[in-house]
């Protein structure tokens, strides 16, 4: 007689959202008890918003997109993460807040966009952190470790207009100084001294 593994549910709550991950211990590698080695499904419930559900790939994409986005926000760099090739995209909104876009793997389903404020994004980041650091989750997540930004990203944090002020101001100052220099009259040549005239043999 063989015992089937018991279904496990991991639940993480914050004020605005609840993440629930369901799965089974991977008995083929000796997992048992509370361990969750195979994710069979997950759901993310938002207060007053549609519930999100998906497979393991979608959850990993959500983590791989949202966590680096939050990492960049700590440095004051708000730039989009994700793209057409991944099911999750997150980007800053012009009027403040963030747009989280989720694309279904099914062909006829339109993408779902969730608007989040800073507090809701922080809640989402916390539930994802709780999940990835939970010792009961024994799935290899392969998320990159947060790294310091590249100098270019730090530079781009300053708006282009403000970055250009110093070099453009310098160039204008040089041009104005050159123009003023050109306006000055050239000095007249000095009259030749009498000794020089004598040397040339002139009367």
């Amino acid at each position: 007689m063989t015992l089937s593994p018991v279904k496990q549910t991991l639940r993480y709550d914050q004020v605005s959202c609840r993440l629930q991950v369901e799965g089974l211990p991977d008995v083929s590698i000796g997992q048992a008890g509370e361990a969750l080695g195979i994710i069979t499904g997950w759901s993310l419930r938002w207060s007053g918003r549609p519930e999100l559900e998906g497979r393991k790939d979608h959850l990993l994409a959500l983590m791989a997109t949202v966590l680096p986005y939050a990492r960049h926000l700590i440095s004051g760099v708000a730039r989009p993460f994700g793209g057409d090739d991944v099911p999750v995209t997150i980007a800053p909104r012009e009027q403040g807040g963030h747009n989280l876009e989720l694309r279904s793997s099914q062909p006829d389903v339109a993408p779902l966009t969730v608007e989040l404020d800073d507090a809701e994004l922080a809640d989402l980041v916390r539930v994802l952190d709780q999940l990835r650091l939970d010792p009961r989750l024994q799935v290899k997540l392969e998320l990159p470790e947060p790294q310091p930004l590249h100098p270019r990203e730090v530079l781009e944090r300053v708006p282009l207009r403000r970055r250009l002020v110093a070099p453009l101001g310098g160039a204008v100052a040089v041009a104005v100084a050159a123009a003023l220099g050109l306006l000055l009259p050239e000095p007249r040549p000095l009259p030749p001294s009498p000794e020089a005239v004598q040397q040339r043999g002139e009367p």
């Binding site: 004020v15 966590l67 990492r71 926000l73 004051g76 790294q147 930004l149 100098p151 730090v154």
Partner: protein
């Protein structure tokens, strides 16, 4: 409840160079923001340091304060760099404090709160932060003047609260640490 005691120096911490003066400045300002959110912030910091097992690095509050004085914006600034173990411990303390203060941070950032309540919260935070900055920082430094300016410093003050919210907890520690090591350009 504080997280599990951390090692004095994690393997990842030793891979990064010592924190730059700019990083130390940001770290101290984030700690100052945590103090501004909590009336007993100074005490909480010492208590958290003990709870996380950093009594060997910071034997008492004076030692903790001396490390924070490496911030170049301080009135009485100290020269030199902190060791990676010391900066790592300070960042862990900051993450744990931010985790403890998360409900307050969330309330400041939430757009669901009534505008008047939110404004009142921000005024309270900004007022206490300004008091602490005037008390401890060098007013002749442009960075201090900007932070204290109601208009010019608004973005920076909001950024401090955001950084604390996204850097709260043990997951946030790694993000905060990476952010504090950003290059200076």
């Amino acid at each position: 409840m504080p997280e599990a005691p951390a090692a004095a120096e994690t393997p990842a911490a030793s891979q990064l160079p010592p924190l730059s003066r700019r990083g130390l400045e940001r770290l101290d300002l984030l700690l100052l923001s945590a103090e501004a959110l909590d009336l007993n912030g100074g005490e909480a910091m010492v208590w958290m340091s003990e709870q996380l097992g950093f009594s060997g690095l910071f034997a008492n509050r004076v030692e903790l304060w001396k490390r924070r004085c490496h911030n170049p914006l301080r009135r009485a600034t100290r020269r030199g760099n902190l060791s990676p173990a010391e900066t790592d411990a300070l960042i862990r303390i900051l993450s744990a404090l931010a985790d403890r203060l998360y409900p307050l941070l969330r309330a400041l950032l939430s757009s669901a709160e009534p505008e008047s309540v939110r404004l009142q919260r921000w005024q309270l935070f900004e007022g206490r932060l300004a008091e602490l900055v005037r008390e401890r920082m060098n007013p002749r430094r442009v960075g201090v003047q900007t932070l204290l300016d109601p208009q010019r410093g608004e973005r920076q003050r909001r950024q401090l609260i955001r950084a604390l919210a996204y850097g709260a907890g043990s997951g946030g520690y790694e993000r905060l640490r990476a952010s504090l090591h950003d290059p200076v350009v």
